[in-house]
Amino acid sequence: MLKRVHFGPSALPYLLVLPQILVTVIFFIWPASQALYQSLLVEDAFGLSSKFVWFENFEYLFEDPYYWGSFQRTFVFSFLVASLSMGSALLLAVMADRVVKGSGLYRTFLIWPYAVAPAAAGALWFFMFNPTLGILPYVLQFIGYDWNHKVNGTEAMALVIFAASWKQIAYNFLFFLAGLQSIPKSLIEAAAIDGAGPGRRFWTIVFPLLSPTTFFLLVINVVYAFFETFGIVDAITSGGPANSTQILVYKVYNDGFVGLDLGGSAAQSVILMGIVIGLTVIQFRFVEKKVSYND
């Protein structure tokens, strides 16, 4: 048991945690409680009066097929963004792990997309795929494909998935590379002597040993796809065409600020908040149980 060191009463510790507490209260606790409160109200269209309605907003939401559609869309979107960005990041990390010369430069370039703001990333993809101006629809035309994500919902979804994944690859790459580099080389060598070829070594040794990293990234990526892709969706499709890229976080904005249904929008954010809390709990549970392979 560690013996506790006792200091005399002092204001210093409180002073030191004060900024953190203030930030949490002002930017999280206050707005979150506002959202909670708001989700129990119904406001008239002009915002002049509001009425306390208990869980009516939630009931209404759960009966709304559009909401369920958005839920489903968000799951598909998150699943594809997480798999695409993690898969490509893992591939890149495996290759970077082998590079000996110039690996610093290679890594630096791969990390860049992460530094790009979501809206800027969205704008980039918006221009690249713009049906009239973009370079890629132009190229696709030559192989006889008529790209127009402004009309075709599937194409629009594909585009936001690409853009969102692209931005997250750098982050995943860094973690995968660190994970790969923490696997002792002698394990790979032992497996090579045991007769395992490169593919088998990867799937039976490297991949299982990376699983803590993979799980961590999975949670991070799902959270990212759920909540941090607003800027990308907004810049590229604004949720369209015909709501085909309206994921939950975008619907919160759309219903609240465009549709002016503040109560319904607040109820949606409360549900999203619940999802974040759930994911965080899973993450912590896992971190506590996390096995260490290093000893």
Binding site: A190, D194, R200, Y293
Partner: protein, 362 residues
């Protein structure tokens, strides 16, 4: 079973560093060869080339009369035990041992038989076979690593400092077990260590490496009795051999040990070295206490170590205070400040060329 033949093996790393400068050795079928040398001398590099984990950049490597220079590790019919054991952390002990056998495509019953058999030899219990490596002690992990090598029934065992992560007591115990195992299985083994005691006790033959160059290849007794160079002389034996800077007398008949004290060489002396500087080596255990002899060196005692069975006396003699260590069996009653008369006899000295550091044969 196989022999291993190294013919002018060289290694230059991609960064241009030449780690191995041409090594020749013929390891006999069933032989236990120890590569020994200080850290960084290229032992692991050489072993890893034999394993196929490093490319051979010069010379020819044969295992069992087959040139294997460009063969994959798995095709060389070898097994290797790593310093950090390199056990697969996510697999049970059983699966660690079975991994290579599954890849070989052996049947389940054959795998089970081999693993159980190896576990028996290494005294691993059935319960331990179901554990993960991290749930084992250092000594047990070491056994698993050995087991993983044994089950493959390779022609050649390669060991890279397998005992250096164990504590002193366990190290001695495992050393004995490795030797017994190698003798009973009769598998050709190449063993890397920086510990000369391990090397002397394990090897049928030792290869002493120094900066990628072979200093000497021979049996432990040959290395101890006739070190081929100053490096080997100082490396083999504990405490290390005493080395004195001296010269051969003008007539070549004797070697000067200290001012006015010479030691007759006999056998016609060393006329070629007359008047030349040489290094004289004498092992601590070969120094005699010579009460009253006129040719004795007066050793001023500076430190006494009682090991129980032996006593180590450190001291110096002469105007330039040359350091010297004496080892006597039993207990020797002496304290710092004492003067002990020491004598050196002709048959116990080793002479080395002061320039080339090679042995001078008398």
């Amino acid at each position: 079973m196989a022999s291993v033949k190294l013919d002018n093996i060289q290694k230059t790393y991609p960064n241009g560093f030449k780690a191995i400068h041409g090594v020749d050795v013929d390891v006999q079928d069933g032989e236990f060869l120890v590569l020994v040398g200080p850290s960084g001398c290229g032992k692991s590099t050489l072993l890893r080339m034999i394993a196929g984990l490093e490319t051979v950049t010069g010379g020819e490597l044969e295992i069992g009369d087959k040139v294997v220079n460009d063969l994959e590790p798995s095709k060389r019919d070898i097994a290797m035990v790593f310093q950090n054991y390199a056990l697969y952390p996510h697999m049970t002990v059983y699966n660690n041992m079975a991994y290579g056998l599954k890849i070989m495509g052996l049947s389940k019953s054959e795998i089970d038989e081999r693993v159980k058999n190896a576990a028996g030899i290494l005294e691993l219990t059935d319960e331990q076979l179901t554990r993960k490596p991290r749930e084992l002690s250092g000594g047990q992990r070491q056994r698993v690593a050995m087991g993983r090598a044994i089950v493959r029934k390779p022609s050649v065992f390669l060991f890279d400092e397998p005992l250096s992560n164990l504590d002193a007591k366990l190290r001695v115990q495992m050393r004995v077990e490795i030797k017994r195992l190698q003798e009973s299985l009769g598998i050709t083994s190449i063993y890397v260590t920086h510990d000369q005691v391990e090397a002397m006790t394990l090897g049928h033959r030792l290869m002493v490496l120094n900066s990628g160059v072979v200093e000497q290849l021979g049996t432990p007794i040959e290395l101890y009795e006739r070190p081929a160079s100053l490096f080997v002389a100082e490396f083999i034996g504990s405490p290390a051999m005493n080395i004195l800077d001296t010269k051969i007398s003008e007539d070549g008949e004797s070697v000067d040990i200290a001012t006015n004290i010479g030691l007759a060489l006999g056998n016609g002396g060393l006329p070629d070295y007359a008047g030349k500087k040489v290094k004289l080596g004498v092992r601590p255990e070969h120094l005699q206490l010579a009460e009253g002899s006129e040719n004795s060196l007066p050793l001023t005692v500076t430190l006494v170590e009682h090991l129980g069975a032996d006593t180590l006396v450190h001291g110096h003699f002469g105007e330039d205070e040359t350091d010297m260590t004496v080892r006597r069996s039993g207990t020797l009653k002496t304290v710092p400040g004492d003067k002990l008369p020491i004598s050196i006899t002709r048959e116990n000295i080793h002479l080395f060329d002061a320039e080339t550091s090679r042995r001078i044969d008398l």
